[in-house]
Symmetry: C2
Subunit: 223 residues, 2 copies
DNA sequence: GCGAATTAGTCACTTTATGCGACTAAAGTC
DNA sequence: GACTTTAGTCGCATAAAGTGACTAATTCGC
């Protein structure tokens, strides 16, 4: 590997790390080193010779001590002024972690999405985009599965979908659609949650299947 | 407007302008100023004080003399080396124009997507992302309508969808779904295309309607 | 002028997907 | 052991999508 001396780059790499905390989504923030009461999304000034994905992975690693199971770039943001760095542009990534296994390092903390700290407009836009991306890609990528532990009950899975979609789902329909998708596999374990019948545990194990070939959809309203 | 002296920024703004040319998608390229046989996507080095969207609009304007009807950022690209500029990172936008009204300025030309000139890996990735974005957002945004002239026949619309999806659609199903969507409106004009019954003209005129509230979809295969 | 060819547009029937209430099952609570 | 609670399934009703066959309006060949 060649060692090029890093030079000041005019863009930052920011990461929106999300988890499902209780009944709400939560985002990970880093405490500001100078103003102790200010928080911001974890970020770093990019270094030449590092890919965007690698930079984002490193930011996440520093915050959590581990890499998120799912990570995806959500775009470049340059319009809102006043980023914690002085960068003209920030490239944002979104990362998902199950809450059970995610313990932030010192100086980092989860904030529930309904109760965020004051932020720069640019970082606020990133979080807005991340939540919209989650909703929009829920049916195209295993978002919900990445927010759950490796094994889970079908009720937990349904509750995760309900949380992410902000709407109730019908149990029988949910399970029928899930069956048809060949995405999960039951394992020979049950979990008893105090009262009620114990639930069987499942894991995410997508199987080959024909891609459902539907006709056209016109699912947009405007414009 | 404040006049700040521009400084070298380490990112470029590139635009993937697309149109439907005959039976294929086509992308707009700019002739390289030094090597006359080389082509590249239109781009510019960003200037401080200009938003990303504004920079992209300006690049498109310079290439076409007009702004595309539809434009959307498709991400930041930093991994493939050797961009025409020396930028570490390039922010790419996608723009759509109807071919009928799109005449490139001198030094620019359309290349059919199946027959592209040699490109830097990074710009190749942008085009790849743009085509995937088109397919993925076809049912969520009026992509097909933006590639057609203001008035069109339903057969033309269906052919556009067939081109973008690379598959045949059934006429009756297509029209039934379109009716249900309240996206088009017939106008009192007919077009005769030589042989066959004349077709009524329509225009894109989305009407208010309830958002179709379906249950969950598990439409992904892997991962 | 007239039948064949061509493109537009619609209909009716079948198949598939989804919504939804009601049911059975297995545990804890009192 | 009756009641509550959560898990899991069944079956019917309704909605959406796939499909071939039909009618309609025009040009073309002769």
């Amino acid at each position: 590997m060649r060692d090029r001396s890093p030079r000041t780059a005019s863009y930052s790499v920011d990461v929106v790390l999300m988890t499902a905390m209780g009944n709400e989504l939560a985002v990970l923030f880093a405490r500001n080193s100078t103003e102790r009461e200010r928080w911001s999304l974890p970020w770093r000034i990019s270094q030449s010779g590092e890919t965007l994905d690698a930079a984002a992975a490193r930011v996440a690693q520093e915050a959590l001590g581990e890499s998120p199971i799912w990570m995806e770039q959500i775009g470049a943001f340059g319009d809102g002024k006043r980023h914690p760095s002085d960068a003209d542009v920030s490239v944002a990534h979104m990362g998902l972690v199950p809450h059970e296994t995610a313990s932030p390092r010192a100086g980092y903390a989860w904030f529930s999405i309904g109760d965020l700290p004051p932020l720069s407009p640019r970082q606020r836009a990133m979080i807005e985009t991340a939540t919209r991306t989650i909703q929009g890609r829920l049916d195209q990528a295993p978002i919900a599965f990445r927010l759950l532990p490796a094994t889970f009950t079908l009720s937990e899975l349904q509750q995760m979908y309900e949380l992410l979609l902000s709407k109730r789902l019908h149990k029988a329909s949910f399970r029928r659609a899930l069956q048809a998708s060949w995405l999960v596999e039951s394992i020979d374990e049950w979990r008893s949650e105090g009262r009620g019948r114990p639930a069987q545990l499942f894991r995410y194990a997508p199987k080959k299947r024909r891609r459902p070939q539907r006709g056209v959809r016109f699912d947009f309203l405007y414009p």
